[in-house]
Symmetry: C2
Subunit: 220 residues, 2 copies
Amino acid sequence: MFIIPFRSLTPVLQKSDHIFTQILSKSSSQQNMVKKALVFLAPGAEEMEFVIAVDVLRRGGVDVTVAGIPDSNVVKCSRDVYIKPDIGVAQSSAKGPYDVVVLPGGLGGSKAMAESQEVGNILKNQECSGGLIAAICAAPTVLKAHGIAEGKELTSYPAMKAQLEEGGKYKYSECKVVVDGNLITSRGPGTAFDFALTVVDQLVGKDKAVEVAKAMLLDY
Amino acid sequence: MFIIPFRSLTPVLQKSDHIFTQILSKSSSQQNMVKKALVFLAPGAEEMEFVIAVDVLRRGGVDVTVAGIPDSNVVKCSRDVYIKPDIGVAQSSAKGPYDVVVLPGGLGGSKAMAESQEVGNILKNQECSGGLIAAICAAPTVLKAHGIAEGKELTSYPAMKAQLEEGGKYKYSECKVVVDGNLITSRGPGTAFDFALTVVDQLVGKDKAVEVAKAMLLDY
């Protein structure tokens, strides 16, 4: 359940020594490369879950891109905080691939992400390529809407439990953070730090997650 | 240490019954009035501390105004999240008085607030009128810069301890949240929920703080 496929650690073996050396060299360089995250920001997003994810990942040295839905204009979040995305979702693929795609919660934001064909396509590509997907609060319902991570164990905001259990596509857990293969899910604002630190742990390593937590006066 | 002066609960006694009735009536109406908060947003503000304060206060039914420094343009926060204030600081007095003025942390944001004459004036007026002042992380240094809350007990991000102790103006505490009269202070991102919930508790009541915490999957 806790094995994460690191795409950058999968060099293809070649017969030619020259080519093999090149690939090993590239692989070694990729291991040291900064990890990349895409975080969606849709109208009605829960601003604490959004900001904690972005801030904690950037503290962890992750290169975070915030993709606005439907575009790069300022987004009104669930409690009327106005946040400007880095780019619009249509431009996000050009900046990828991403090591993780993060979906913050909030009812309005989750509805917008569930209805977005572009979000669906990005999630399907991320799943096919074995990259991490991380969703919190109401956002795991977005995965169900797009047919992502079926068969996996996940959690969500408690009010979404029935919706996620209906149809038997997922195994529901009530843990604060659930990691199942390349899927990370969590429950709400009160678990948002644990959620973001788990993403840092999986992408960069436990030492970095512990270091970031300590600087924020938290334990991990 | 935990007594908060509620300005709206201080009717002035008058000899005329008529006037006295009017004042009682006004006082009763003020007791039921929505509480008002002013939250500063300056370049380099710690976006988690800012957003958690605004979001939690709004969940608690507080009418929150976000005042940008120096103006109402989009602000680049400490981890490159871009947030749009509701108004510029120069317009904030016209929307007051406020039951609480909140100062989020972040080194850059605190420096900008410490250097702002408008912030200094607002804090001095708030202190003179007995309203609440709440500061977290690096922001208690803003109080020192403007000569606010001298003689009071406070806390801050650990790295600011020496600066706040120097000169003997404050009694330093290492508690997560410190309430001393009309001053509420706290330590960093990891204590930001406790900080914001304490402000809700002091302004609206403990029942509301417990209710808001529960909906976020936290205890208070």
